[in-house]
Symmetry: C2
Subunit: 404 residues, 2 copies
């Protein structure tokens, strides 16, 4: 299932970026499971990584190699190379070396990423054998194939493409992402790759990525589980005709805003494809003392299995939302000031069910595929939005059968 | 479904305690839904309550009345009287007044408790009409009826009965509890009522209850949702032949230990009856820096929908346990020191799958109904245990259909 996702968009080319895919046979099904991305010389590259203490071997290698002017990304799906100890680290390094040999770069110019089952040895020989084919396939037009090659339990490929104007010159920004389960990103999504032909220094690029991720991938949750492999990469080739983007310029504002938009669209696509999802829950927490508090309240609602199953059933069981707000750990909450809405329908006011509320009005909202829950805490001015989805039979089925 | 729960035990009488049940017709099914408990004069009474900010009207009334030497408890199932605003408070007070009129006490000597659907007006007239019948039924032998009358989505009544020796004299302790969903108690279970004929001052009784609850009801979770109505009560009638239990005495140690045992058994029964549960997960976190850290790691595993669905499937997907440990927020965790076991089978060592691990050994443990996950953090001496259960199709069904 997926909630209201349209077709994969037409992806423009990004000057200086080439993508190649191949089938290494990591999974039993015959499909591309290897993606390599080449960046033009002089590109800058920023990245954010999972905060899970058990971060996967490729995450550790990518973190280290980020300092060595990366030129290539090497991504495999079907195997996370996580929980694989010393062998996993050797395998990640070996796959980087194998790509370097075929591509003619140094091994530390490759950032490796893996996604899939945790705890299985990486089939590094299969991957290495498929690399020449991926290199032969390199093309700037392979964005759709790339989005498909990184999928695991995803039911559709996720991509965004946009063009902005930097001092009158067009700059392209493309993003692809994957993820449907083990989704409560912390610093990054499961995997997200964004490329632009803008010219921008690495530290500014990193700043744009961090800001974008914080308000997008770090505001979504399917199941509250932060992956061992989360990573987000932003590549800037500098191959467009636009002048360099510098700090405090108008161009920087436009660029940073566009990166955030791309991040938000990719993050929303992940939630629309949440494992077993039948409904999109947009949880807006307003009038909170600060952002942290707003995020806490929003995530408490978003993680509540009782709220999520009620949404699956289309049941306006607002008592469960109220209970989640109440247990979210906000100190000295004045419950008489709290208001809760389903779309525009006020359900809670003055510590209880709103006088104006009717089950019919609540039911009408709950019948929709996309529902906004707004919580007004009556404590301050901060506001944050969390995206989540419901909990269905299919969620249990998908995760009970994952390894069978 | 329920996991390995035996028959309801034979409950001894507790001198000075009488229980009466009645059918008020709060739910559509015809069953007792009202329980009243009378304590002998000079009883002491301790209680702990939910920390949910939206605590229900009866919780607020019970908290206030605890100071007025309570003589009666009035419990209804089928309606939580939570999220009901001013009217809910009036209804809770009215039901106390109604019982006081029939029973011949003052209204503030009644502690009211409600459990069931949130946000519906309490059918206070139905309750009041049933009270004379409940008073007429009062008997010291009604523990089984009492345990059934407080059930909501529970599939079996939960009770514990034991006798201890205080300076050579027998002292009885009985406990009943209800709860299957919205279970991550904070200060108390959904509802738990324990009575003893020991003689003990109120402040010591409160201390025993708080200690018992902390290591039992506060260490279980079905779904991570803390109820608006959680409450636990410990009544001591002083009607046994045993001398008063005083601080720092051997009797106090024996008594406090027995209360903890009763709390733990009731808490475990709640998990065995967790909504849709097919497996009991006992999560033991050892070698942590402190108790708080151990509880955090344990609850992160216990709340992970990915871990819970893998347990439902009987899949030794240890990567999900490892990922949960990794995202639990323990600072500076040295993953090379972490060891994880399924029962006695070591699954994780030195940051990855243990060399000695085989899928067959893991599968054998996962086929059991009761499984212990032990996490050794290699950081210190603290140890805590969390009880939880799996996530099944039935969990989704029960909670999707709850109000239909």
């Amino acid at each position: 299932m997926a909630v209201g996702q349209g077709d994969f968009p037409e992806m423009l080319e990004v000057a200086g970026i080439q993508l190649g895919t191949a089938c290494a046979g990591i999974k039993q099904t015959v499909r591309d499971d290897i993606l390599i991305i080449q960046m033009a010389d002089h590109s800058t590259c920023a990245a954010v990584f999972t905060r899970n203490a058990f971060c996967a071997a490729p995450v550790q290698v990518a973190k280290a190699n980020l300092a060595h002017a990366p030129r290539w990304l090497l991504i495999n799906s079907g195997n996370a190379n996580a929980g694989t100890g010393t062998q996993g680290m050797q395998d990640a390094l070996a796959s980087c070396a194998a790509l370097a040999a075929v591509a003619g770069c140094t091994a530390n110019q490759v950032l490796p990423f893996s996604t899939g089952v945790i705890g299985q040895p990486l089939p590094v020989e299969k991957i290495n054998a498929a690399l020449p084919s991926a290199v032969n396939n390199l093309s700037p037009g392979n964005w759709d194939k790339a989005a498909k090659a990184i999928m695991t339990t995803d039911t559709f490929p996720k991509g965004v493409s946009k063009v902005i104007s930097i001092e009158g010159k067009p700059v392209a920004i493309n993003g692809i992402a994957k993820g449907a389960g083990m989704i409560q990103p912390n610093m990054a999504t499961m995997l997200g790759f964004i490329a632009t032909d803008a010219k921008i220094k690495q530290h500014l690029l990193q700043e744009c990525l961090a800001q974008g991720v914080e308000q997008s991938f770090n505001r979504i949750t399917v199941d509250g589980d932060t992956s061992t492999n989360d990573a987000g990469v932003l590549m800037a080739t500098g191959c467009s005709a636009a002048p360099e983007i510098t700090r405090n310029s108008e161009s920087y504002m436009i660029f940073a805003d566009a990166i955030m938009t791309v991040c938000k669209k990719l993050a929303e696509a992940i939630i629309r494809d949440g494992e077993g999802a039948t409904k999109l829950m947009r949880i807006v927490v307003e009038q909170s003392l600060n952002d942290e508090e707003a995020v806490r309240v929003g995530k408490t609602i978003a993680h509540s299995p009782l709220v999520k199953t009620a949404f699956f059933a289309g049941d306006p069981n607002w008592g469960r939302i109220l209970a989640a707000v109440g247990r979210s750990g906000v100190e000295n909450m004045d419950i008489d000031k709290v208001q809760i809405f389903l779309d525009d329908v006020c359900i809670v006011k003055n510590g209880g069910r709103a006088d104006t509320y009717t089950e019919e009005a609540g039911q009408q909202v709950m019948n929709q595929e996309e529902i906004t829950v707004t919580v007004k805490l009556g404590r301050g001015e901060a506001c944050q939005e969390i995206l989540s989805c419901d909990f269905s039979y299919d969620y249990v089925r998908i995760n009970a059968e994952y390894r069978t």
